[in-house]
Amino acid sequence: MNLSVSYYAMLREQRGLSNEAVETDAATAGDLYVELAREHGLTLKQEHMRVSINNRMVNWDEQPNDGDTVAFLPPMSGG
């Protein structure tokens, strides 16, 4: 399937871009991150991050569908 993937903050800097189109067979959002982390040398640990699909916070075992936007969210620091 084809997904749109977004990166923010330190993760965006590590990846070197904000968005990219990804073709993947990853079964879950977590699997997708493992795949992309390996490919691009991303060092942030999954347990410190959150993930959203189509602007809705989801669990790492959520399954993305073709056309979805998946965003990886580093530890937040608003306020």
Partner: protein
């Protein structure tokens, strides 16, 4: 209820949205950029936010929890994005309630949760030219 803005926050305008004849208490929280953090001289801050829709959805979840836990009438929140300098207002939260205990507790709950959950990231720039992405309350 959540206003994400790249321009200066206007507390007076937000306050005027919180008017109700049954309200006896308004508690507001304003977070501003400090000149020193973790013993380092801060020159500016950069706030990066996720998609407005994601931030709004997560804030709506926080607001729903607040209304379930505390007896409040209404609330508002604004958060800056972009580059801020020392003294600039980064976040404004206001809560009105019949009684003050609920207004205090709700306002504090919102800022505590927001810091962990709102998809916004803060990068500090220091006097020595370095910079760093912060973790919660860092």
């Amino acid at each position: 209820m959540l206003q994400l803005t790249n321009s200066p926050i206007d507390p007076a305008a937000l306050r005027q949205q919180l008017v109700d004849t049954s309200s006896g208490a308004l508690v507001t929280f304003e977070g501003t950029v400090r000149d020193i953090n973790n013993r380092r001289d801060v020159t500016s801050l950069e706030y990066e936010a996720a998609e407005p829709e994601l931030a709004e959805n997560e804030f709506a979840a926080i607001a729903e929890e607040v209304r379930r836990r505390f007896q409040i009438i209404d609330l508002r929140c604004a958060h800056r994005t972009g580059t801020l300098k020392v003294g600039d207002l980064a976040v404004w939260i206001g809560v009105i309630a019949e009684h003050r205990a609920d207004a205090f507790d709700a306002c504090r709950y919102i800022i505590d949760e927001l810091k962990h959950r709102l998809p916004i990231w803060k990068k500090e720039h220091y006097a020595d030219g370095t910079s760093k992405w912060l973790m919660v309350d860092g």
